[in-house]
Amino acid sequence: MWKFERDADYEKRVKRWPKKHRRELKAMHDNLDTFVGALNRGAMPAHEHFGFIHDEPKGIKAIDQKGAGAGVKQCRLYIFPDTTTKIVHLITIGDKSSQKADIQYACQFVDSLITREGDTNG
């Protein structure tokens, strides 16, 4: 079974998520639940067939707010499903305005994660 780990940036941003965008926050996590449910049933992270998932560099996935209904803000939850450890890392969360910086942050996160795992495995 896949497990989850939260990055500090994700924790900070979720806690401060604006009240007026609750629907988006709920929808992104609902979609995350669906995605990980599929992984637990044998789906490969690289071969997902969900409209709410967007591929980013380094195996990062951006999950959007599809399903939240009309008139919602475009948001993304950045995750990294690590197939070696079967851990889904929740990296950060943001909207369109922070997209570029969020992806950059997520890439750095994955780089440092891979380095750490490399060190651990010798």
Binding site: M1, K3, F4, E5, R6, E11, V14, K15, R16, W17, K19, R22, L25, K26, H29, D30, L32, D33, T34, V36, G37, A38, N40, R41, G42, A43, H47, E48, H49, F50, G51, K66, G67, I87, L90, R116
Partner: protein
């Protein structure tokens, strides 16, 4: 570097960081209301099928499948779920379970179902020596795995007042040639009717 805490579900992830308690409750309710739909979506993705693939197989539009996948379980037509499951090579067999059923009865229902399926396999094994060998191997594997699962659940039990476990599960010296059965050792457990007596 300290090991990060791991979470088994999205609900657990959100428990202590959701913007407020109401959000967490609302989220759990939402997820619970989409269990069946999410299950089917997971199976679809695991088989590498797209919404269009499912729609083509059923003979409907992709947008209808999209609508189904965004719906709550209560709002989906049974016929649509059956057709979707059929495309995935699954039988859709909703069997209602009485809400008043006690947890121990639920375990018994599943245990009896396992026995029924194993009896079917034993019957099948009579037709051919090779099949019999395969079924026997599976029975052993099944026995050990079920035993290990039960052991895992037993580890979650609280301890006796004296600090010892109520009973210990132990598998020892398992060899191919000499298959030693797992043993259950009761330490200070009650009688086997204890769960009923406790009203479980």
């Amino acid at each position: 570097m300290a090991k990060k805490q791991q979470y088994a579900s999205v609900s657990e992830v959100l428990r202590d960081i959701a913007p407020d308690d109401a959000f967490h409750a609302e989220f759990n309710e939402h997820i619970a209301g989409r269990k069946l739909v999410k299950h089917l979506m997971g199976l679809r993705a695991a088989q590498g099928l797209s919404q269009t693939d499912v729609a083509n197989a059923i003979g409907c539009t992709q947008s209808r499948i999209s609508k189904l996948e965004n719906a709550r379980d209560n709002d989906v037509r049974l016929g649509d779920l059956r057709a979707y499951a059929n495309v995935l090579g699954c039988d859709f067999d909703p069997h209602p379970v009485p809400r008043c059923l006690k947890p121990v009865d639920k375990v018994k229902i599943h245990a009896l179902a396992i026995k029924r399926h194993m009896d079917d396999l034993a019957q099948l094994a009579r037709s051919d020596d090779k099949i019999a060998q395969g079924v026997a191997g599976f029975f052993y594997e099944c026995f050990v795995n079920v035993f290990l699962m039960m052991g895992d659940s037993a580890k979650r039990l609280p301890l006796c007042p004296d600090g010892s476990p109520y009973f210990r599960f132990q598998i020892g010296g398992v060899e191919d040639e000499e298959q030693e059965a797992p043993t259950v050792q009761e330490d200070c457990g009650e009688s086997e009717d204890a769960p009923e007596a406790a009203g479980l």
